[in-house]
Amino acid sequence: MLTIAALLAATSGCLLLALSQRRHWQAVTRTASRAPSSVRPAGWGMIGASLVLVVMREGTSFGALLWPMLIGVSALITVAILALNPALLASLAKLLADRGG
């Protein structure tokens, strides 16, 4: 379960980091706006959280191998969504925009 949680944390981290970039934010929202400034630190926070979860579940020895691979898979999922159907992230972007004012 912790591994799944780590993958979810890493994927949401990658999604947030991608959305913090103007190119992807604008493709998702179809506006000329910018992502709230809190999106990027939140993304890094989720990436950090995934590392903590992996180390808790696997220890450092396996964690050192598993975590970079999980980040890679998360980045791949993020890229696939952005390349094939960025609109999937519209509601997430709206939520972030509303929260971030």
Partner: protein, 522 residues
């Protein structure tokens, strides 16, 4: 902070381009075969159906086995058993005959009797050695070529980071619908960045494993040039005395095994099992019994413990455990060998390996795409690289499929011009691979699509032949506990599907006048 000048970037670009063009095919072959090696034991079970045994945690008695092996083996100086496990359910059994030839058998763990095995080198005997030596044994040349490719890969990864101008801004960017050249570069950058730690780890750890071959001097210096002494210090090897000529009965090997495992488990704090049981000088007063936990199941590190016993008395004469610095090196080696029992990580390695294949293939494709308008019709060099790229990428995958098909089709007693069945399977691999280069040289761009169709057909054929020639097909295999066979079949079908999709996209986009086709890896 030093700035990256245009000159520096240009130099990096030059190195990246030409190392990639010259060694790309070797890197692809090593990565492809290395990726298959991750599942070598499962491939072995698929290709040698007699070893499809459902593993149970029974205790094998090595005293019993030693009593029932053939007299020639019992008289051997070197008898080696590999303890069965879930991934290697048969007992591995090797011995050195009186004429110094090595005999490699598998024993049924239930009866201890030799299994009548299909004569095939399969995954562990072909894919695995191919990925570290390309099967070129002459003067260790293959090891040196692979070492050079590994070093080149490290240089390519570093130089790639310098020449990629927008790593951060384009980290999550992939534009499959842009022009083929742009899409190829996007895919190259994407596949490189998402697997970067893995791509560093693999060539680096591979070079480290063979450091004693590539850079022996630093190691031998500390041991006054005696590499055997260095090796003994690093791995716990024990210098076995020659036979004395006096016969002496062997004490209980099972008792020694229990003692070794108890010692290791006490030291580690968790149960530690032996993987190797080796009897040297069997029946002689100088007999020695050697145990090793080569592949711990629940840890990354490789081969931490060795225990050596005096054969006739059963007395412990050497108990080796890795010193801390050895642990560091053993972790890196263990990370490469990937023999631990961590299935999610094993699949991630498999994905990482395929990602590496995509990275290398798209790198070579980008070289072609960048030059096709200028050179495609005029330059011999371009045509050579084009044919080498097609044969080196889709060709080796097709040759692998042909190897599996040959394994299921060749009769048990097949021989041709002095080559036995296992050798013939490998001949088929090489011939098909060579054929794909010729095919690519003649048909050029169109060869991509045709070879992808052939890969798809080969994958489906292999699965059908497995169902027809063995008692397991992919539907029944998992019911009967043969998970390895079921997964192998499913991966073959998935690979065939992927190849067919690629072939369809290639064929759809190929201009009838022979203009450039689309990406095979899109």
């Amino acid at each position: 902070m030093a700035r990256i000048t245009p000159d520096f970037r240009h130099a990096m670009h030059w190195a990246h381009t030409w190392l990639g063009v010259v060694l790309g095919i070797v890197m692809f072959a090593v990565f492809w075969m290395g990726t298959l090696t991750i599942f070598a034991p499962e491939i072995d079970q698929w290709m040698i159906p007699e070893t499809r045994i459902v593993h149970d945690e029974r205790d094998v008695s090595y005293d019993h086995l030693l009593a029932q092996i053939p007299p020639e083996a019992r008289a051997s100086d070197y008898i080696n058993f590999v303890v069965p496990s879930e991934r290697h359910p048969a007992i591995g059994f090797f011995y050195q005959g009186a004429d110094d030839t090595f005999h490699d058998n598998a024993l049924d763990p239930a009866t201890g009797q030799p299994l009548e095995q299909t004569d095939s080198l399969a995954g562990s005997g072909f894919f695995y050695p191919f990925h570290l030596s390309l099967m070129i044994e002459w003067q260790n040349l293959g090891y040196w070529i692979v070492g050079l490719a590994a070093l080149a890969m490290l240089i390519l990864l570093v130089s790639g980071l310098f020449i990629h101008r927008k790593i951060i801004a384009e980290f999550f960017v992939f534009r499959p619908h842009r022009k083929a050249r742009r899409a190829t570069l996007d895919l190259h950058n994407l596949s490189s960045l998402i697997g970067l730690p893995f791509y560093f780890l693999m060539p680096f750890s591979g070079l480290l494993i063979f450091a004693f071959l590539y850079l022996p001097w630093g190691i031998s210096e500390a041991f006054d040039g005696d590499m055997d002494a260095a090796y003994a210090e690093m791995t716990g090897d024990y210098a076995v005395p020659a036979r004395s000529g006096r016969t002496a009965p062997l004490a209980s090997v099972d008792a020694m095994k229990r003692k070794a495992e108890a010692l290791w488990s006490a030291e580690e704090g968790v149960p530690v099992k032996t993987n190797l049981v080796r009897v040297l000088n069997h029946g002689d007063a100088n007999a020695v019994v050697y145990f090793r936990n080569t592949f711990p199941d629940d840890r990354v590190v490789l081969s931490e413990y060795v225990a050596v016993f005096d054969g006739p008395s059963g007395r412990l004469i050497r108990n080796f455990s890795l010193p801390p610095i050895g642990e560091a090196s053993a972790w890196i080696q263990g990370a490469h060998f990937m023999q631990f029992g961590h299935w999610p990580l094993r699949w991630l390695y498999f994905l990482g390996g395929l990602g590496g294949c995509v990275m290398i293939a798209t790198g070579m494709l980008f070289w072609l795409r960048s030059r096709e308008s200028r050179l495609a019709n005029a330059s011999l060099g371009y045509r050579v690289v084009e044919a080498l790229t097609i044969g080196g990428v889709s060709g080796i995958i097709l040759a692998t499929g042909a190897f599996l098909i040959a394994n299921r089709l060749l009769p048990a007693d097949a021989t041709m011009v002095g080559t036995g069945r296992a050798g013939l399977e490998i001949r088929v691999f090489w011939l098909v691979w060579l054929g794909t280069y010729l095919h690519a040289a003649i048909l050029r761009e169109r060869a991509w699509g045709q070879q992808c169709w052939a890969i798809a057909a080969a994958g489906v054929t292999a699965v059908m032949l497995n169902a027809a020639t063995t008692s397991n097909n992919f539907l029944t295999a998992s019911w009967s506990g043969h998970r390895a066979v079921a997964i192998m079949d499913i991966v073959l079908l998935a690979g065939a599907g992927l190849a067919a999709c690629t072939a369809m996209r290639l064929t759809a986009r190929t201009d009838p006048l022979g203009a450039p086709a689309a990406l095979p890896a899109e």
